[in-house]
């Protein structure tokens, strides 16, 4: 990972970071047995789920402000996809970024502290929920303008090709982003220049309150690949191992052939668009139906079916619980950033007033 440091503009640009920021799972370490591997993916999904449930609670208590877009229901996408990467690979995503951040290796502490706006947060309390960044794990954010991060991701992939560093970039976005220019320009250029990138459209069927049918004339998002002459894939993300395997194929295409792929992953968010959204635009039945396919529960069931011992499972879940509670306490106890942080992180000219 020091690679990333090596390529970062100036040491000065990288303020020293609290070591606790680097705890948490190393996502791409492959355990010997497949069951243990599934257990690790389950652990990550559960961690994301629990971190967000606690975040929702803290939000209700007014300890977290602004927008909070929960990933609950979509965990298999980030965990499966990131598990197909190497630690030095890059990832770029939207404002719905907690899952991706944790799956890429960010600690629950760094995420929770950021949500609390604390100095120990991944972005030192300046970014918040929508702007999770971590130079050490190759997490390039957390971006708030729909579509605008897609060219940024292509830029990271461009840099990898320019330096021949063998890295792959994953770019996540929602199906609502496919209608905007940033998607078109980012994918066009990646296709033209054969960049090592995988475009992952998380089709959760809604863009805020708008169903896919009212945002796109072609409901199969992956069809867009035809216009760019790149490979495409499309599947449901209920099974985390399926996600890992299918994204893995695209990652391999990127790494070995330096070719981009557009992958439409079909998923569903169990919560509203953000905390302020009561999600009146969908029926309770629809939601219940989809919750039956909860990827976290599914992985858990698979584990028990595959004979993952109950005590081990219990231990794993308690460890996750402990990690989450520790993260909350850490966030609560951490100091707020001081005003002095504002100046050095912006241009060093004189204030105008």
């Amino acid at each position: 990972m020091s690679n990333i440091e090596a390529h970062s503009p100036e040491p000065s640009g990288q303020p020293s970071r609290d070591d606790d920021r680097l705890d948490g799972p190393a996502p791409a370490t492959r355990p010997s047995s497949q069951v243990d591997h599934l257990a690790e993916l389950y652990r990550q999904m559960l961690l994301i789920r629990r971190v967000e449930e606690e975040a929702a609670r803290a939000y209700a208590q007014g300890k977290i402000g602004g927008f909070l877009h929960l990933y609950i229901g979509q965990e298999a996408v980030a965990v499966g996809a990131l598990s197909a990467l190497k630690p030095e690979d890059y990832v770029v995503t939207t404002y719905r970024d907690h899952g991706v951040a944790i799956a890429k290796g960010m600690s629950a502490r760094a995420v929770m502290a950021e949500l609390y706006g604390k100095e120990t947060g991944c972005s030192r309390g300046l970014g918040g929920s929508m702007h999770m960044f971590d130079a050490k794990t190759g997490m390039l954010g957390g971006h708030g303008i729909v579509g605008s991060h897609i060219p940024l991701a292509a830029g990271a992939a461009f840099a990898s090709k320019y330096r021949a560093d063998g890295r792959v970039t994953l770019c996540f976005f929602g199906e609502g982003a496919v209608s905007i220019g940033g998607f078109h320009e980012g994918v066009s250029l990646a296709a033209l220049w054969k960049l090592p990138i995988v475009f992952i459209c998380e089709n959760n069927e809604y863009s805020m309150g708008t169903p896919l049918s009212r945002t796109m004339s072609v409901e199969d998002v992956s069809m867009k690949a035809l216009g760019y002459g790149i490979d495409r894939d499309r599947f449901f993300a209920e099974d985390v191992l399926t996600v890992e395997q299918r994204i893995g194929e695209a990652v391999q295409r990127a790494r070995e052939l330096s070719l981009p792929t557009l992958v439409e992953v079909r998923t569903y968010r169990f919560r509203g668009h953000s905390m302020s959204d009561p999600a009146k635009y969908r029926t309770a039945q629809e939601l219940e139906e989809r919750k039956k396919k909860d990827p976290v529960l599914r992985a858990r069931t698979q584990l028990t079916e595959q004979g993952f011992a109950a005590p081990k499972l219990d231990q794993l879940e308690q460890a996750v619980e402990a990690e989450v509670m520790d993260a909350v306490k850490f966030a609560e106890d951490s100091p707020e950033p001081d005003a002095s942080i504002l100046e050095p992180t912006t241009y060093d000219g004189p204030f105008a007033a």
Binding site: G65, G66, F67, G117, K118, S123, G125, L126, G127, G128, S129, M130, H131, H143, G144, I145, V146, G147, S148, G176, A177, S179, I180, G181, G182, S207, M208, G209, T210, R214, T215, M216, Y281, E336, P337, A339, I341, L342, E343, T345, T346, F351, A352, A353
Partner: protein
């Protein structure tokens, strides 16, 4: 007779009345219909007018802003909602190069009767990409009109005027104003664009403000009154055209001026006001014009830091005290 309405309701009434009056007027934007508006400004309008005239769009601001301009060129009168003005950044070219230029570059053949509207400036802890005061970019551009009312009655009257105007009008609302209540006369029609109003008369210093900052100025005025300082507050309402007469007339009386707005200081609306005051009231000024603005940094997420960056009544108070304390050396 008058009723008390929320800012949000005043806007809705204005749009509804104009749509009832003129079939060429329609509302288009993200989540304006089925979702009833991200901030509920257009609540109920889809039911009332149907999907032909209340149109939900995909996320494609430059696309639907451009569709609005094209429709306006051939005679419709679109109201284009940006879910927030921050997102107009991806449609910047359509506003700068299409809407603002159409009338002149076509030799006066195609004017562009369109309203772009939505909440502007800071909300609460929404971070650096979602807290822009975009009026400072747009007020710079000839061919556009830019409005930023502070009160429900002005919001209603100016919105009606904007919809009837043949130029592109950018209407700056505020998430933090939508629930603010105010009296709205039953017989209110349009409020003229380009006219500021004195919301408080005073003799010691002129405070120029608009949108939410007018309320901050009023709060500061109360504190200053206790300190024996009597300020006059000019609520601009319209940023372009700018009512320089009202500003200058007030400053010639008070001899002092403080401008308050959200957004960064460099080359903002405040800089423009400052230039006009020093130019047109030069011999009347007893102290330099001071600006109270959002600090010159990207908006931080942390709540305390955000409040620190934003203009607060106490900063306005101390600026006024500084100007009142100052006496021209001569």
């Amino acid at each position: 007779m008058a009723r008390v309405l929320r800012y949000r309701e005043a806007l809705r009434e204005a749009m509804t009345e104009e749509m009832e009056r003129d079939d060429r007027v329609f509302l288009m934007g993200e989540e304006v219909g089925h979702y009833q508006g991200a901030y509920k400004v257009s609540e109920g309008m889809l039911d009332k007018f149907g999907p032909r005239r209340v149109i939900d769009t995909p996320i494609a601001e430059s696309g639907f802003a451009g569709i609005g301009v094209g429709a306006a060129m051939v005679g419709l009168r679109p109201i284009i909602e940006f879910m927030t003005w921050n997102f107009s950044a991806v449609a910047f070219d359509q506003i700068l190069n299409s809407a603002a230029k159409m009338r002149q570059m076509s030799g006066g053949q195609f004017n562009c009767p369109i309203v772009f509207r939505g909440p502007n400036a800071s909300a609460r802890q929404v971070g650096s990409q979602h807290s822009h005061a975009m009026e400072h970019f747009y007020a710079h551009v000839p061919g556009l009109k830019v409005l930023a009312p502070a009160f429900p009655a002005d919001a209603k009257g100016l919105m009606k005027a904007a919809i009837r105007d043949d130029n592109p009008v950018l209407f700056m609302e505020s998430e933090t104003l939508y629930s603010v209540k105010g009296e709205v006369p039953d017989d209110l029609d349009t409020v003229p664009m380009g006219k500021a109003q004195i919301v408080r008369e005073g003799k010691d210093c002129t405070i120029v403000a608009y949108s939410r900052m007018t309320h901050v100025a009023i709060e500061a005025a109360a504190t200053l009154e206790k300190k024996g300082i009597d300020v006059e507050i000019v609520d601009l309402r319209s940023l372009r055209p700018l009512d320089e007469d009202t500003i200058v007339h007030s400053v010639r009386k008070t001899h002092r001026c403080v401008v308050v707005h959200e957004g960064w200081p460099y080359g903002g609306v405040g800089a423009e006001v400052s230039d006009r005051v020093q130019r047109l009231a030069f011999d009347f000024l007893d102290a330099p014009v001071l600006r109270i603005t959002t600090l010159d940094v990207p908006m931080p997420y942390n709540a305390k830091l955000e409040q620190l960056c934003m203009p607060q009544p106490d900063r306005v108070v101390s600026a006024v005290e500084r100007t009142v304390g100052k006496n021209r050396a001569s």
